[in-house]
Assembly symmetry: C2
Homo-oligomer: 317 residues x 2
């Protein structure tokens, strides 16, 4: 049995933020309750960016206020700046995520600021949140490649990670924003950060499956001792306006991969409680999410599971 | 740079055999020519099973006789038994693939024979082919799990592999027939066969992406020293009648994964001639195949590439 794996579920934020459909607040809350029931302990539920920018998440405060009582679950929300932090704090939220890019061009296009400006603001947000004893996860985007600049210098990622940790961040989430990551590159990056003094348990990895490498990258990182991975139920997260864009690493694929880890032991396979998440329940949430969004979702295990359920229903009909 | 990778392309056989659409012989031959042009050196082009069983490949002899002149390319065809071998020999084909299952139930359902009967017949086919100096690849199916029996004893796979090699097979292709394989299991199997005396260069791996693990399994096997992998352009190969069924490992995903292997070298990424296959040309073949089949194909890199081409066309329009 390998080390326990911590899955960080992002379907309600990274998943919904680009969808054509705006999911009603009540449905988001039902999904959040289902995620808690399935065993997730870290759930990113929304973003306190300006509602005008991301209307899909304009109900951020309502969502946070409506979350279920679940003392052992950490609910997270993205905050872009000090204003967002204030809005998050007013709701009583205790866990926030900051974000900035490791590519100058992507950062400018995404938040209309230079990396230097973003880092200064982010460090202030981290300090303010920590002074209120909140937990802080800091995303660094485009770590494994930028759609505008191409390769991103790992030295820049390392410097950012160290600066964010120094400012007080509890965890650094390395984001492969447009799915350009390769497992060999992931290994290099993880080793580099570890050598620079970043504890592996404070590194999380966030992959997109644009080119099919999400799960390979997760596996490569896990072999290097990383245990926190971001997933999105059914792989939701691609932008439906961009043909061919693929979503986040599919949570069901991750759960299936890790729950079968004890197959390293011959002779017969079995399942271990590696993630603490119930794959069948996530399967059900995936189908519900697909219905809420009104489009087929791309996750492989999701599609397999849905097909199996349909065949079972046909047999019993 | 890692060891050179040998890609074995199966879209014309494993890909087409379950499709609702029967692709015209001329189109199959055009695809074969395009595959040769893209750099593939091993192409499985058809199957000499009874035409009644697989009408999609009923033109096997015509396909083989119409193949392009390409002295450095090995064209392969599946032969189920001695009758199939005779049909293949009549066409002048020099490279054949045998197949049988490592699960009794699957073997019975697939070819209506016990494993013992299949092994005896397969050994005869191998001996006959080798006495004519043909190359022989022997598939073993359901190696990483059987949809009817569940776990498959690795000892049985080992015994089959040794028996097939002893009969004269040049290569053993381990088939994950319904995508049940897990990377930890792949590592165990590869090490076991190597310990039993099977040279790693005579082991090929054939994955399906039903549960999202095809590429992880390839990566795990490559790390163990395996260098031959089966792929199917755009991931074609799922059965369109079974909702949720996914296809073979997508060739473009494999090419992309391996061509970026030199990203292990910091600081800047580049591309190496690891597979000898031109990714852009495979992208074009994938779109052509999708048009021939009249359904969207599932490969991740295929979908990404198609979307990118569409966006480029829109911009230049």
């Amino acid at each position: 049995m390998g080390p326990a794996v911590r899955l960080f579920e992002v379907c309600l934020r990274d998943g919904l933020q680009n969808e054509a459909v705006v999911v009603p607040t009540e449905e988001k809350l039902a999904l959040a309750r289902a995620l808690v029931g399935a065993g997730f302990k870290d759930i990113e539920v929304t973003s306190f960016v300006r509602p005008r920018w991301v209307p899909q998440l304009a109900d951020a405060a309502e969502v946070v206020r409506g979350l279920p009582e679940a003392p052992d679950v950490r609910f997270w929300a993205l905050v872009p700046n000090a204003v967002g932090l204030d809005r998050a704090m007013e709701t009583g939220l205790r866990h926030i995520c900051t974000f900035m890019s490791s590519s100058e061009t992507h950062n400018l296009k995404n938040v209309n600021r230079t990396m230097k400006e973003s880092l200064a603001e982010t460090r202030k947000v981290i300090a303010a949140a920590k002074s209120d004893a909140m937990s802080v996860r800091s995303y660094i985007s485009t770590v494994f490649g930028c759609p505008y600049e191409g390769a991103v210098d790992p030295a820049r990622v390392e410097a950012l990670a160290l600066s964010l940790l120094e400012a007080g961040a509890d965890e650094i989430a390395l984001g492969d924003t447009t799915g350009m990551g390769h497992p060999a590159q992931v290994v290099t990056m993880v080793r580099r950060l570890a050598a620079a003094g970043v504890p592996k348990e404070r590194i999380a990895l966030h992959f997109h499956d644009t080119r099919g490498t999400a799960l390979v990258n997760v596996w490569a990182a896990w072999q290097e001792g990383i245990t926190t991975f971001d997933g999105s139920v059914s792989g939701v997260g691609g932008c439906p306006y961009a043909p061919g864009a693929a979503g986040n690493a599919c949570t069901q694929d991750l759960v299936h991969l890790f729950e079968r880890l004890d197959e390293r032991q011959e002779p017969s396979p079995g399942f271990g409680p590696v993630t603490g998440v119930d794959l069948e329940r996530v399967g059900e949430i995936g189908v519900r999410l697909e219905e809420a969004l009104g489009r087929p979702l791309p996750g492989r295990f999701h599609q397999f599971w849905k097909g199996r359920q349909q065949r079972r229903a046909q047999r019993s009909a």
